[in-house]
Symmetry: C2
Subunit: 269 residues, 2 copies
DNA sequence: TAGAATACCTACTCATGAGTATGATTGAGA
DNA sequence: TCTCAATCATACTCATGAGTAGGTATTCTA
């Protein structure tokens, strides 16, 4: 005799139904998508497919697939509710399993965040590798990296990648993540320096410029959840255009000086 | 007979000494600075002065000063450890008082974050007001706002302002904060539109451009704690320069096309 | 100098959530 | 069919931390 797998409403088992005023005012938003390989497929809203557990009853198979499903579920939950407002019970419930099952695939919550972080970061690192041997001026290579970067940040792992904070992690993990983030930062700075040298990028402070570019792109993770009117790729493209051109017009005769001075009076808006 | 005010080591009272692996690996970093008016005085590392409680025993006075000290202590703690990793006991301990004392000045933790948020935001709103009647092209007015913006983000309230997330707050508070943030966003967009119209800003998508600018500046809050080699004002200035000019060189004969193609071979780095 | 506020503390309650002990079920291979 | 390992559930433990009850001390006011 076993309990059967009917979801919910066991004595208290799956727990955490009917909390208090608890956060999480984002709507449900589909369950898991188990099949495709983990390192993100960006685009807009991921197709809400099913939990591998629900889909197939075969055990002993799909270990890796299930593990990835756990990570992906975590990423979505973090994305919606933040790291601290997501409990492992939440994640388990999303997958229609229980918390120990989640712990069967990952050792702890911190690891879960870390895996999400890696999943988000990987395509960016790949972009650096891809771009390394291209016969292009540095600015073009930088742009290519930034495009991948922006797309990654807009992916379902974007939040986890960008917001995986030292503040939330053990010192060891914190160092590890900082190292990886620093790699990216240094990569961007190097491309900027190369660009300044080969003349494809205007003279600038590589460090501050890298901070500005990465910051603008990182911030996508904050507003993309609310405003998905563009795909990650489209946003990245728009940003690259902005970075390239700058605010000051490029037409001759510096139009800033031509610009009409503003009336002093304050008019109704 | 009363317990006296000797700190710590009561049966368990002040609690939270000697936790587990608990986060918070940032060094101490002075206590409170009570005197100056709240809405931030940016600059570099705030002078670690003393708790008003420690400084003066006169009660019934300085209520507002103490309240501000609580808020400022909270801002610093959030800045160092994040909202969720900061307990009200931590904040109280910093001020050398107990948790109920903190609750005597603020109603709850969410309010505390909200007050920090407001304190961070205020100088930005002030900047918009200041700039409103200046007889300058829109780009110059935008730059002025961005300078204040960057300085505010680098202030001790920067983290709270930038990271006050809907995810951590009640729906009502979340809406309130979103409204205020949206005001700023719309203000930037408007300046951009005006700039495009008066010719001081190159034609662009105001929405995406505003996102890029604000994102770059917001992100300062993430790295400024670790790297205070420049003041907030210096960073803001550097960013404005970057935004204005863009990556593409402005010298005649578009040097991008002149730029040497990169050798295909991969050389050791 | 007796209330009345004000300001602050001790000592709780209580819910949450990370993580675990232990056992049941199932499929694969001997 | 028997065993073993993989997989997953029930039902816990335990620490944390938000928030409170109720009291004490201090200063102001009448």
């Amino acid at each position: 005799m076993h309990a059967g797998r009917c979801c919910g409403s066991l004595g208290r088992g799956l727990a955490a139904r009917g909390r208090r005023v608890r956060r999480g005012y984002h709507t449900p938003g589909g369950r898991m998508s188990g099949r495709r390989p983990l390192p993100l497929a960006a685009g807009k809203r991921p197709p809400a497919s099913d939990s591998p557990w629900r889909a197939s009853r075969e055990r002993r198979r799909d270990r890796e697939i299930k593990r990835e499903a756990v990570i992906r579920a975590a990423a979505r939950a973090f994305n919606r509710k933040g790291y601290h407002n997501t409990s492992l019970d939440d994640i388990a419930a999303t997958l229609e399993v229980t918390k120990p099952t989640v712990y069967y695939y990952v050792s702890n919550k911190e690891q879960l965040l870390f895996q999400c972080f890696l999943a988000g970061l990987e395509p960016i690192r790949a972009a650096f590798r891809e771009v390394q041997d291209l016969a292009l001026p540095a600015r073009a290579r930088l742009n290519a990296v930034l495009r991948h970067y922006g797309t990654a940040v807009a992916s379902e792992f974007g939040w986890s990648m960008v917001r995986a904070e030292d503040q939330d992690l053990s010192p060891a993990m914190s160092r590890h993540i900082k190292t990886l983030k620093s790699e990216i930062d240094q990569g961007i700075r190097r491309l900027i320096r190369e660009g300044v040298q080969d003349g494809s990028i205007a003279p600038c402070d590589p460090k501050m410029t890298a901070f500005a570019l990465a910051g603008a792109l990182n911030w996508i993770a904050h507003w993309y959840r609310e405003d998905q009117s563009l795909t990650g790729a489209e946003i990245a493209e728009a940003f690259v255009t902005i970075f390239e051109g700058g605010l000051r017009p490029r037409s001759a005769s510096q139009s800033a000086t031509r610009a009409p001075l503003r009336r002093r009076v304050r008019i109704a808006r």
